[in-house]
Amino acid sequence: MNKNTTRVLGVVAVSVLAIGTLAVSSAQGAVKSVTLVYQGPLTGTDAQTGQDELLGAKTAVQMYNDSNPAVKVNLITADDQGDGSVAGTVAPGVAANKSVVGVVGPAYSGASIASFPSYKATRLTMVSPSATRVTLTDPKSADNGFPFFHRVVGNDALQGPAVVRWSTAGIDSPKVYVIDDQTPYGTGLAQAATAYIKLKKINEVGSDSVVQKTSDYTATVAKIKASKANVVIYTGYYPDGGALAKSLNDSGWAGVFAGGDGVLNDAFIGVAGKAAAEGAKFTAPAVPFETAATDAQQAAFTKATGLKSAAGHVYVTETFNATNVFLSCIKLGKVTRAGIQNCVATGTFFALDGKTVLRFTRFGEVVGGAPVGGFQVVKGVIKYFGAV
């Protein structure tokens, strides 16, 4: 290649950098506004979780800014790729940005642990929509986020028993098979479920651990059939859970397929297919956005994201709730990190439905442990059956 090309490339590179500098400085210059950061995986292999959650955050901020508040809110994103090593470089940067008053996130437990030291040092409050590892709010654990970390979801220790109770309800002699997806979320939930199964002396006939993004579940299906299980609990996310449910159904297995909040999604029915999805049971600490949202919230969602429905996107409600915790505080005139921290720690907030109360314990867990609800696919639609 010749000099011209090199020169063109050089010009492009320089202008890209220049635009970047502008983008950075303009974000800092605004008056009468504060900044919230959404931190989660936005690119790379885990991008889906982050991109989905961002929809909830955008919707909440859209509704807030549309109500003509005294202090406007900027939402910026910090892409940690769900990876602790990236979070380790992102978090200090977010922490150093003076206009940032709160972090919606981090989305993943691993990234949370890697971010804690920076946020603790700069007294920045976090409200996570999806980091469910028990130790994050465990006073005895060395890697807790006290007093800056909060989460709006029930931890694995709450959801594990719930998913076992709900999936085995109405079955005389349940034979349970537990499958996790090898992610921190999946293994944590599976451990909590297995512990409860042992405690209640339920018959666990087998377990498997299938890495995420596996497409072929036939070996697992063969094992499930060999074990004569009539309940399968899958702790993972809906794309993989749907594929497993479909594979089970196609092989002629008839039993209850169950999962946690990672599997609870309208898109599960699409992935698994109607026949396989029918009768599947889920538990979750929050109702899916597409089911629970009012018309106004739905309209704000479409306006903020350009999408018709939240179906197929996970954790939208949870992120909406997490963002709203900050927005409620900002509405009360808290615009400093200290003010926000105090407000989040002591205030009372409402979830998407406007009724469910969210208050945090000293260590950042939702008081009362965010009631875990039971759901089931009935005639191709996910129905809510109340707390289980």
């Binding site: 220049a18 380790g88 470089t89």
Partner: protein, 346 residues
Amino acid sequence: MINLRDFGAEKWEKWNRPKRTTFVVILLALVTLLPFAGDYSFSNFLNTPISSYQAVLVYPVGMFVLMALGLNIVVGKSGLLDLGYVAFFAIGAYTAAILGTKTHLNIWEILPIGMGLAMISGVLLGLPTLRLRGDYLAIVTLGFGEIVRIVAVNNRSTGGPNGIANVPNPPSILGVRFALDNMQGFFWIILVMILLVIWMVRRLSVRRPGRAWEAIRQDEDVAMLMGVPTLRYKIWAFSIGAAIGGAAGVIFASKSMYVAPDMFSFNVSVLILSCVVFGGMGNIWGVILGGTILAYLPERIRFISNARQLVFGLALVIIMNVRPDGLLPRKKREKIHKAGEATTNV
């Protein structure tokens, strides 16, 4: 095509000793002061949006340069395609995490242990597999990298998918503190390690091992016929590279205070290899440049958020097509130049 390397080399040749010394001292001083560049208006264009500039200098920039230099010994110097370099990084990091949380050893005491373990695993992997040629080696090393990660996921002592938290920071040396709010300490220690590696590679290159690697890279069969104990030197290259990866891992674990299997995916191996090839295989200055750019670029363009990785991919394709030998290629005489081979080895 502009040839920066020849331009630089020519200038260097013409200089006398004092001039060279001054240049090196000034360059080193500038690099040492890099962590503070974000604070001054004339240099704050270096600042990265969202992420912390000082942290970016440590990981990925410093780490990638260090690992790329290590991998360069394997890929660039001896011509062995290693697609699982992340394994050694992971072994170093997990050694630091386990020993750092379970024993009273501090990070400086763990460092040689981590390097040693990485080296041993390099030898154990190398003994059976380095007899394989070319791309067969690539897939086996790729598999090894994945195995290390999968074992870490499925093992209780490594914390499973949750990993290990609260890895201690290293104790201070010479009054330099190593802590999250004092990232320059980590940057400087990595800088020292990079300088040591450069020194070592330059020494080795002109001595027997360097000549043996060069011979192996150019034509292994001929090298063997000429009496070069190829397997032994290949294992040396492999284990030296592994030790450097292990050292990077130890520092990384104590810097981020947390390790988890997700951090050691195949992508890291690919990125490090990209740094080596992108910068210019076999040429340490090229590798350093490549590592710096490929680590820094994705952080610098965070403002385009969603399309960040897309732009990174584009940059790889464009630069490799424009400069196939990398930004700063090795010297011409070190290249393989045989009419027939130029095409069969495409």
